[in-house]
Symmetry: none
Subunit: 423 residues, 2 copies
């Protein structure tokens, strides 16, 4: 009987999602549910296990492109949590399905990778409720949050209309260039199936990321013949070509709105102080809230690089060879926006409001960039709790119970509101 | 009896050096010597071993400050060549004595270090008689030349009035800042003993370096507050300050005569593509044949660096801190001159003339800078042979037999003329 009842209610709910029921009403309906209330209590009681798993996962290193050890551990956890179709895809993402009633597939992800290189000490240090270790907040706490959510749903027997795909994904951080998401949405087994996407990452639940900040990144290398600084003086120099290129780049004017930015990050090249370098290089980052601005900036930038090379080849001798330009794209994150009045954005807002949180919308570069750029409703929400110093060796989170538990509860509520609680 | 005769002749020779015998007469005397003629033939027959050792030594990496592997190998070679007091000094120079009759100590050096960093492929590529590899000419060919000279002297039983200290020295190239020579002449076991110095380095024997080319070298560091490339966009950037500085530097005009040069060698800085760097740095080399020109260039350069910093602090926000300039002198090679009519310069010229070579005097920055600046008679002579593209990855030498052999023979003759052949 229960099954039949559920299916019946699910159909009612489906009608409401598309029609009369507002996001606030949907969330209010969830809050009235006795099993949901039971799930909230479960999350409170689950706090110490959440902390244990957070520590366990944090202490498994997951450098960019080397997430496999943590991925295997997380995949095993997903399996133990009773998900079905648990698997690692070819890019290294791990995932499993929590079956619902076959409604539109909701994917919920936290990322496995950290920014820290191999050999970084990832031992968690504890002072009271403050835990510090590289990567503990970004995004290991997100991974631990998903596990607690699954347990709460199971304990309280919460069924959803949508199937939910829980994911621990690879390659969110810089050099990964969203490779996990790119594979998931463009090539993986669920590439055409995902209808909604929520990434759980970052700290306090004060904002919802609905805008995908686009970026283009290049390694620009200036190559030349090199030579002795004294004996070969007068030959073209990659360093001087690059200095000119950096100068031109620095003089660019970009709009404040839509916010558009450019940066020379890392530079290098040269073999010794008394040699004309045979190559000089720089890594460049350009971003914009709006795709056209970013494309225009990138085009201008490429033109300036060529100008600088031409000017160096004209300024000094090319008798031993010219300066040549090599540009390699090292990052390409699409931009886009999930409308603030879209169902997914409004529903998440209602879920946050239910806990007294008033999130603002913002634009950032997260896993959600990929589905957003493809027109799939997608947002990134914070995992809640307190933390700081992300991307630094003294990254920390505070696992003080009340605020940490609330973070998991907000995440649960958002997921239920999107997936549709079958009541 | 032989020993007594040698000592007797040595005394005669000594008298001549200080008095009646001209450098031309000294060299002519050597050319008449049957054993010397035997040594010249030996060098011809030794050619293939010279080439083998050149390849062997070239393929032992010797980056600045990391010459030890090559130094150990060369020290072992010096030992196998029967030198005495073979040792490595505390700076890393390796050396050994070929005993003479106790005349004024002649030091003959080639340098061990190359300009190429660790990890550079130093495999020798051969096309006919053309060998190419980083460092093969500068100054590995000098090291190989000294070995062939020692063998020829031994084979022909050539004895000299002076003891000869053969040296493979460290730190000749850029960052080494002549640390090998500074130690040898200022602190090492022979610091007050060396009366004449010949450095064997560089290619064709068309010139004798009697002037020490002065240089000033700086590590210029631009420091700033750093920050996220997007979130903190608009803050001052050390990379942009440095780009502007490089650009200004590249536009400088310097005289061709006296030859005056400038270079940006190695650059670096930055932590990630999406961070505004907190520092960017460059290593700069300036040289001039004339001290006043060098001083003026250095002063202009320092002014430009400040200008670039001021312009960056005016162009972008200093709300989180200003760009600051840090300049560290990393090289300061004294200039000076061994007189063209000094005994050492005239003697070397006569030795060159004996092979039909008419060397011109020139000014350069070599190991001889240090003794020259101390008033010790010192020159640098080419090792002979053909070569090119020094300090570039496609550095090459041609080991065509006739010209290569002549290079070694000229070196032998110069050494004998300076050390005094005991006949």
């Amino acid at each position: 009987m229960k099954t039949i009842t559920s299916v019946f209610l699910a159909l009612v709910f489906l009608t409401n999602v598309g029609g009369a029921q507002s996001p606030d009403e949907t969330v209010e309906g969830i809050r009235q549910d006795a099993n949901y209330q039971k799930a909230l209590v479960y999350i409170e009681n689950d706090h110490s296990r959440f902390v244990e798993e957070l520590i366990e996962l944090t202490e498994i290193p997951a450098p960019p492109f080397k997430e496999e050890q943590r991925a295997q551990a997380y995949m095993e956890m997903l399996r133990q949590h009773g998900l079905t179709d648990v698997q690692m895809d070819e890019e290294g993402n791990v995932m499993g399905i929590r079956k619902g009633n076959g409604g539109p597939l909701l994917a919920v992800a936290a990322h496995l990778d950290t920014v820290f290189p191999e050999g970084t000490d990832v031992t968690v240090k504890r002072e009271g409720t403050r835990l510090s270790a590289p990567g503990i907040g970004d995004d290991t706490a997100g991974l631990a949050t998903l596990l607690s959510v699954i347990r709460a749903m199971d304990d309280a027997d919460l069924r959803t209309n949508s199937d939910i795909l829980f994911i621990g994904d690879v390659g969110e951080e810089g050099p990964g260039d969203l490779r996990g998401m790119k594979y998931l949405f463009r090539e993986g087994p669920y590439k055409d199936a995902i209808r909604m996407f929520v990434s759980v990452e970052g700290g306090r639940q004060t904002s919802i990321t609905n805008g995908a900040l686009g970026s283009k990144r290049y390694r620009v290398t200036f190559k030349g013949p090199g030579g002795h600084s004294y004996g070969a003086f007068g030959l073209v120099s990659p360093a001087f070509a690059m200095g000119n290129a950096m100068r031109k780049f620095s003089l660019l004017e970009v709009p404040e709105d839509p916010k558009t930015t450019f940066n020379v990050g890392v530079i290098g090249g040269g073999t010794s102080v008394n040699s004309i370098p045979f190559e000089s290089w720089m890594d460049v980052d350009m971003r914009s809230e709006v795709r056209d601005e970013l494309d225009e900036l990138a085009e201008t930038f490429i033109g300036l690089m060529h100008e600088a090379v031409d000017e160096e080849n004209a300024a000094r001798s090319t008798a031993q060879g010219e300066i040549e330009l090599e540009m390699t794209m090292i990052g390409d994150r699409p931009s886009g926006e999930t409308a603030e009045d879209s169902d997914i954005a409004r529903t998440a807002t209602s879920a946050f409001n239910a806990f007294g949180l008033e999130p603002v919308f913002r634009i950032s570069s997260t896993d959600a960039n990929i589905p957003i750029s493809m027109g799939i409703p997608a947002i990134t929400i914070g995992r809640g709790g307190m933390g700081g110093r992300g991307h630094s060796l003294d990254e920390w989170v505070d696992v003080e119970q009340e605020i940490t538990v609330q973070g998991v509860q907000v995440t649960l509520t958002t997921i239920l509101a999107l997936a549709g609680l079958v009541q």
